[in-house]
Symmetry: C2
């Protein structure tokens, strides 16, 4: 394609709102353009890269035996009500009323629709397993779209759904996808690390996220430096001795007393005021759940892990209480909650169990209890692993040291089990002609997100360095024209030869200074660059180089195709 | 692909709600499944055909120099307010409020978005022309979805938008698309006839629809049997001498009088009651427009053409008046409106001009005027071509006989001119550095609709006969297994050889009776069928045939690939 006809625009300046490298480079290189918050157009170069990524995904999904279909964007609300997720999704779900007054959901994911299709297919055990996938636009009304196309409100996802007769089958289907995902990410230039993950709104028992450890992420990932353990912080277990230590020295227990703590609400303020360490304070957090109020105790220097808490408390809905609700439950204002005399269910994190003579709120404004002790002063319903892991925690598997990183989730696989098939009666006939619920898995890849993450993983100060399989073009041909029309002629000839050889070429045929063209070529970051100028054609040569190797080779004009093919074979990104 | 792993289901019975052949066959052959009214899943076979169609469209668009991008589904309402189309689209537009309260439109078409992208690209005359296209899902909340995937609420469209510096350029861009469209439809097995069309909500001066003349259509198309004239009935001109005939014999005018017509509202009722022909009655239709009430007179046996009327009256909005509004405007009830003494703008169709002593409503319940005459009793503001063409009308170009047909619109091209570029300030810099509005065209193809129309064009009593380029698979391999495991072995071998030769094969490997398999093969309608059974392998042969030719050829097993390739080359649909 000729640049002059290509509708490619590049920019020298970073966009004002861009926080991440990929966002900056994608806008500057003319891959995407924002239409509104979290909604992007994929411009010609971006659209080409997107199709390359989709082709990689499709090839590996087909190779793994999955079958492609295309499900609609518009779902009747009734389907989502069947599984109870119509309410569960909350504000992140985009909905509209059609002209007949029916509520439609813009699919944020397709478990309901695919389960509806499969339950109507009257399958028997002979037809299973089956794994159905699509590449389709999805909608999630994110509260805070970020990092360009990393977190958007409209995005393209590959989603697959497997249906098996039993859990052994599910395990096989899951492993097939797990392996296919690793191949897909490798082919797209990503080092994706599978980590244990929380199953969230999708549900099921087991899930893995595929994380690319780049700064443009919002996920915190823990990896053990000794063993293979890796987990999203939402899922990461914290190793604990469990419960009240049997060898607690009760002779140490001091007399509990009330202390004025005027205006001191935060752990830091209270610790400083009372002259204790945050580790000696126990925070009491009040949650509103579908099962009533819930108080959670964690050490002052720890944070509650809400997914863990929701799982342990078996709460379908769980949210931080408002100041009003706290007042209603504890009788006191926010910042002074405590477990003593509290009329609510109280759970405590394991980290609280070994503490002696600690501080808690007194459920009265400006008052805290000091020298509080477990069992003597109050007794939680249970101790459990309810907190986020912190730096210094040992690996829950091997006890080794844990590393914290920031990552972008590019894929997520789930063992759903019968969560959807039971609620929606998605059944198969077994050999005895009995109806049984299918055992499901689901598997998602963020197709648009792969592009951002690939760029986040491969760039230098001058621009993008495209992974080989997903580059929008393989070759950029740069002609330095000036007043020399001969250069354009030879350029035309080389362009035709490269194209004839099956190479995808972007020809920068613009009337621009060499500096501008080279800067743009670096910014666009296509794998191979061929340069033809006045000097080179006088010598009868063209210059060929790879984007990630400054070394330039002069080759006779007649050998350009061969040289490009060699450089292409040598290009490893 | 093996049928047993393919998630293909076929049905013997037509779906209850299906009115059209393509709808019946697409459901029965397992191409699509309805999720809700006007919203379909493309099942594995349908999804494959869809991709084939998209590939044809993409190839021809690229060959015509158009550049692919991908625009979002979610548009901010503000963009649509800029062009005034936010209200214009009415109930057919799907909209939703996001979590921040902003109204979003689900793109029914993308003129606003593409114009926004191009105006922000700072183009000069050197960068033009440019033609941008996408293949993207679209949403139109049709009041009456019909004919399977012919008229749906969610569908896939290829839409392209050209930007030129002048009208000569637009004419060239338009012709490029017009020619590309003819190639696309031919490759997809469609006989698409370009017809002059109304520009409707898209706007502009000139447009052509590409019509496939099959029964599953809602468009009425006129074609001249003598010259090249062809038009959608909405656009079709009616030839007319124009205005009041100069040679009117005014000695014939009879005395006007009121006649009681109790309960007679329709033309037929009044004509029968008064003993006149419907041609002697002039209907007075009341419209509500953005410029106030409008009365239109047409002969009793004619119908108003509303697009023509809106254009002539320069009305941005025009709708049939409600009974209440008619009462308000005429003073009388619906069914008795007439032009005499009417306080509204009155336009008359040319067909009214030659009439003498005709009948009109008296704007009073149960009363009509008879022996009414133009000029003497009332005078319309203007005569114009305001009616639908009818059988028997001569061709407006050559006067030859006109044929009426039913068609499905598979494509539509528009010369938009500056309708969007002026409102949205989409400008380019001319050689004198002056800013000028771009001259636009837009070009749409219904990708999902092509599939239905292709089937509507190619089928027999047993099922689909796929056009060559868009068939989901090229070959169906049928093995008749029974107790003979040797057949399965040879099947496996032939399947591998065909696949290795680059052919796309669906292997019906199911444990089903031959009759079932043959019926399904006919229903699916893949171009080439290879049959291997006990008898044939005893003879060391397989049977090869084309879907549209019952003649079967027995070939040695070793020659199957060659025979299939020959049959494929001979397959012309």
């Amino acid at each position: 394609m000729k640049w002059s006809k290509s509708f490619i625009q590049t920019f020298r300046e970073d966009p004002a709102d861009a926080e991440s490298i990929s966002h900056k480079l994608m806008v500057r290189a003319g891959l995407v353009r924002q239409l509104q918050a979290g909604v992007y157009t994929f411009l010609p170069l971006g659209s080409r890269a997107l199709q390359k990524i989709a082709n990689v995904v499709r090839a590996e999904m087909n190779a793994a035996g999955a079958i492609e279909l295309l499900m609609p964007v518009m779902h009747p609300a009734e389907l989502w009500q069947e599984t109870g997720r119509f309410d569960g999704y909350g504000d992140a779900m985009c909905k509209f009323k059609d002209r007949k007054g029916h509520v439609n959901v813009l699919g944020p994911t397709h478990e309901e629709v695919v389960t509806d299709i499969v339950r109507n297919a009257n399958l028997s055990y002979r037809n299973l397993p089956v794994n159905l996938y699509q590449i389709q636009v999805k909608f999630r009304d994110e509260a805070r779209p970020r990092f360009g196309v990393v977190r958007t409100r409209e995005f393209i996802m590959k989603d697959a759904y497997s249906f098996d007769t039993d859990f052994d089958g599910l395990n096989k289907s899951y492993q097939l996808m797990y392996d296919a995902y690793l191949r897909i990410f490798t082919r797209c230039g990503l080092k994706a690390r599978p980590v244990e993950a929380d199953t969230g709104l999708i549900g099921g028992d087991v899930s893995h996220e595929f994380m690319v450890l780049v700064p443009a992420g919002e996920d915190r990932v823990l990896t053990c430096t000794k063993c293979a353990y890796a987990a999203n912080i939402e899922k990461a277990e914290v190793k604990s001795s469990g419960g009240l230590p049997a060898d607690r020295d009760t002779t140490e227990l001091r007399v509990r007393e009330k202390k004025e703590t005027p205006g001191k609400r935060t752990v830091e303020e209270v610790a400083q005021f009372l002259g204790v360490s945050p580790r000696d304070i126990v925070k009491t957090l009040i949650y509103k759940t579908d099962k009533g109020p819930l108080a959670v105790l964690v050490r002052g220097d720890h944070e509650v892990n809400e997914p863990k808490l929701a799982r342990f408390a078996k709460a379908a809905k769980l949210e931080m209480a408002s100041p009003e609700y706290i007042q209603e439950v504890t009788g006191g204002p926010i910042g002074f909650s405590g477990p003593i005399g509290l009329r609510a269910r109280v759970l405590a994190d394991h980290g609280v169990a070994p503490l002696l003579n600690f501080v808690v709120g007194a459920n009265v404004r400006d008052l805290h209890w000091v020298n509080v002790n477990l069992n003597r002063d109050f007794k939680p319903e249970a101790f459990a692993d309810l907190r986020l892991a912190v730096e210094g925690d040992p690996c829950p598997r091997c006890g080794g040291p844990i590393q914290f990183s920031i990552g972008v989730e590019v894929g997520h696989v789930f063992k759903l089990g019968t969560k959807y098939s039971e609620k929606m009666h998605c059944e198969y006939l077994d050999p005895e002609q009995k109806r049984k619920p299918m055992i499901m898995g689901c598997y998602g890849i963020g197709v648009t997100r792969i592009m951002a993450t690939a760029i986040e993983s491969h760039f230098d100060k001058d621009g993008i360095i495209w992974p080989k399989e997903i580059a929008p073009f393989q070759v950029e041909l740069v002609t330095l024209v000036g007043k020399e029309t001969k250069v354009a002629e030879i350029g035309e000839q080389v362009y035709a030869e490269l194209t004839k050889a099956g190479l995808e070429v972007l020809w920068d045929d613009r009337d621009q200074a060499p500096g501008v063209k080279f800067k743009d070529a670096d910014l666009l970051g296509l794998p191979i660059r061929v340069t033809i100028g006045k000097r080179s054609i006088e010598a009868g040569t063209a210059d060929v180089r790879r984007r990630n190797n400054a070394e330039q080779t002069s080759v006779p004009i007649g050998d350009v195709v061969k040289a490009v093919q060699e450089q292409w074979n040598a290009y490893v990104v």
